[in-house]
């Protein structure tokens, strides 16, 4: 029981009092692990992350049912200011840099939860993981490439010394080589810092390669879970998320498209 850092018990999330997005999601995240959350668009992955980080509130969403336990205490519906100070940092989808701040200033915003404490060493740690940022540290973030921005927002989150890092689609819109590099660094951060990571991804193949455990979401529910290796072997996952036939060859998109109708669990 001690090993569990984050636990969601049967939570429901409603936006604007009428739109129910999560319908009883339960999952648990062990310490020092990478847990990946897979699923198609609109399955509720991002909403799950926001429920944890407290960012539902400014979007008019609310956890109406269930509990979120972080290190044993309930944190659902707390403000983002409070939750980030517990050590939970979410890296938003679509990167969201501060465009008119330099790279280094962007990183310094990451110290908000530890205001007043020295941050030089943290800066160097971030530059150690992302040497590309060091070269551009005086440039405006608005002029960086997508890959650099992804590194920037992850580095910015690291500045806060998170215990739990929520990564929302870090591979979105990046070239395959860059994606590979980013995932390598995610794994490295997990191993060297011991940071627990929840990874939301469309790129199931890459996500399962680095994750220890995985959950599959569909229509606001968890429909499948298992260790990353088990999930990789699962015929349904292979078919629907890895785009392979049972025999292991890649299938074409036209075939993949009609799978939705045949999903057994819906």
């Amino acid at each position: 029981m001690d090993r569990i850092l984050l636990q969601l018990n049967n939570i429901s999330v409603v936006y604007s009092d009428v739109i129910q997005v999560l319908k009883g999601v339960s999952l648990s995240v062990e310490k020092n692990r990478i847990v990946s959350l897979l699923g198609s668009n609109g399955a509720g992955k991002t909403t799950t992350l926001k429920a944890v980080s407290g960012l539902l509130k400014p979007e008019n969403g609310k956890v109406t049912d269930g509990t979120i336990l972080y290190q044993g205490s309930e944190i659902q519906n707390q403000s983002p200011e409070t939750i980030t100070r517990h050590g939970i940092i979410q890296v938003l989808e679509g990167r969201q840099p501060f465009k008119y701040l330099t790279i280094e200033e962007n990183l310094r915003v990451g110290t908000a939860t530890r205001w007043g404490k020295p941050y030089r060493q943290d800066l160097e740690r971030v530059y150690h993981y992302f040497p590309a940022l060091w070269e551009r540290r005086r440039g405006l973030a608005g002029y960086c490439s997508g890959g650099e921005l992804q590194m920037l927002v992850m580095g910015r989150a690291l500045m806060a010394h998170p215990e739990l890092l929520l990564l929302d689609e870090p591979s979105l819109g990046l070239a395959p080589l860059v994606v590979k590099e980013i995932f390598r660094i995610i794994r490295q951060i997990n191993e060297e810092e011991g940071t627990t990571i929840v990874l939301v991804e469309q790129n199931a193949r890459m996500a399962l390669q680095i994750a220890h455990y995985g959950y599959v979401m569909e229509n606001g529910k968890i429909v499948m879970e298992g260790s990353a290796d088990d999930l990789c072997e699962n015929p349904d996952i292979r078919e629907f998320y890895l785009g392979m036939s049972a025999a292991g060859n890649l299938k074409s998109y036209t075939e993949v498209k009609s799978y939705r109708r045949r999903k057994r669990w819906l």
């Binding site: 200011e81 501060f98 008119y100 405006l140 002029y143």
Partner: protein, 292 residues
């Protein structure tokens, strides 16, 4: 030539003041996208705080000045806490209308306490602050304005560029959602920007009070002049506010001096209309960095 230099110096210092008070306006707009219609009243309140400390409480000038600044700072925080925080999440127009209400309230309060008469501060500025060299004659008050104004500008420049709190403030102006996700205390940033805005507004109110005397209607009228200044400089540029202020100040004094004193107060608004037609983002307004 003598006359020209007099006007130049006068215009520069008045413009500098406009710019400083516009800077507070821009700061609120940048951090929370709120147009503050109570800005003129904040300017007036600063002048009256100073007046109260100097003439009623008979506190030494320098201490009064600092106390009045502190009072304005506190007032800014209170405004955010009491009136604006409950409106977070509501449409922006509510907040803007609220500032219109605040303006009426503050003005009424000042009229209630002090009445609409013209007050003057005792003459306290040392002669050494002025310059009297051949044809260049700068009255002490303008010298003081330039010194204090420059000091404030440097301080705020350093604050926003290097201090952590200043960087958090800029991050909120830049991308509120991302700032929130990193645990930046967005409400504290709003409070701080109102406090700083009230502080610089109050400061320019005090100096304007020294130059023209303290009168509610005159001082709160300056709040309206903030609009041409910020629209000229660009609504979201702090540096632009200063330069816009100086341009408007110079235009005013030169029109007043060479053409007709009655045109003096009209010129800023003519400029406002022209700028809106020709360069709607102002001289230094932000051009979005767009990535596709």
């Amino acid at each position: 030539m003598d006359f020209f230099i007099q006007l130049l110096v006068g215009g520069l210092s008045v413009g500098f003041l406009y710019g400083l008070s516009a800077m507070g306006f821009v700061m609120i707009f940048k951090s929370s996208s709120v147009l503050n219609f109570a800005h003129g009243e904040l300017i007036a309140i600063g002048a009256y705080f100073f007046l109260a400390f100097v003439t009623w409480a008979k506190i030494p000038i320098l201490l009064s000045f600092l106390l009045a600044l502190a009072g304005c700072f506190l007032l800014g925080i209170l405004i955010e806490r009491i009136f604006l925080r409950p409106l977070i999440g509501e449409p922006l127009i509510f907040v803007v209308m609220l500032t219109v209400g605040l303006a009426a309230m503050f003005k009424g309060l000042i009229l209630f306490i002090w009445g609409g008469n013209l007050f003057t501060y005792p003459d306290f500025l040392p002669k050494a602050l002025g310059i009297d060299w051949k044809i260049i004659r700068i009255p002490p008050v303008y010298g003081a304005t330039l010194i204090i104004g420059t000091l404030f500008l440097i301080l705020f420049g350093l604050f926003f560029k290097f201090s952590s709190q200043g960087i958090y403030m800029r991050s909120v102006a830049d991308n509120q959602r991302a700032a929130l996700s990193l645990g930046v205390h967005v409400k504290r940033v709003f409070a701080l920007s109102w406090a700083i805005a009230a502080l610089v507004a109050g400061m320019s109110g005090m100096v304007l009070g020294i130059i023209n005397g303290v009168n509610v209607h005159d001082l709160s009228g300056i709040g309206l002049k903030v609009f041409p200044v910020v629209i000229l400089g660009g609504l979201d540029s702090i540096g632009g506010a200063i330069i816009g202020g100086i341009i408007i100040g110079l235009l005013e004094t030169f029109t007043g001096g060479y053409i007709s004193p009655s045109l003096r107060d009209v010129v800023p608004y003519i400029v406002l209309v022209l700028i809106l037609l020709l360069k709607p983002y102002g001289l230094f307004g932000l051009k979005e960095i767009e990535r596709v």
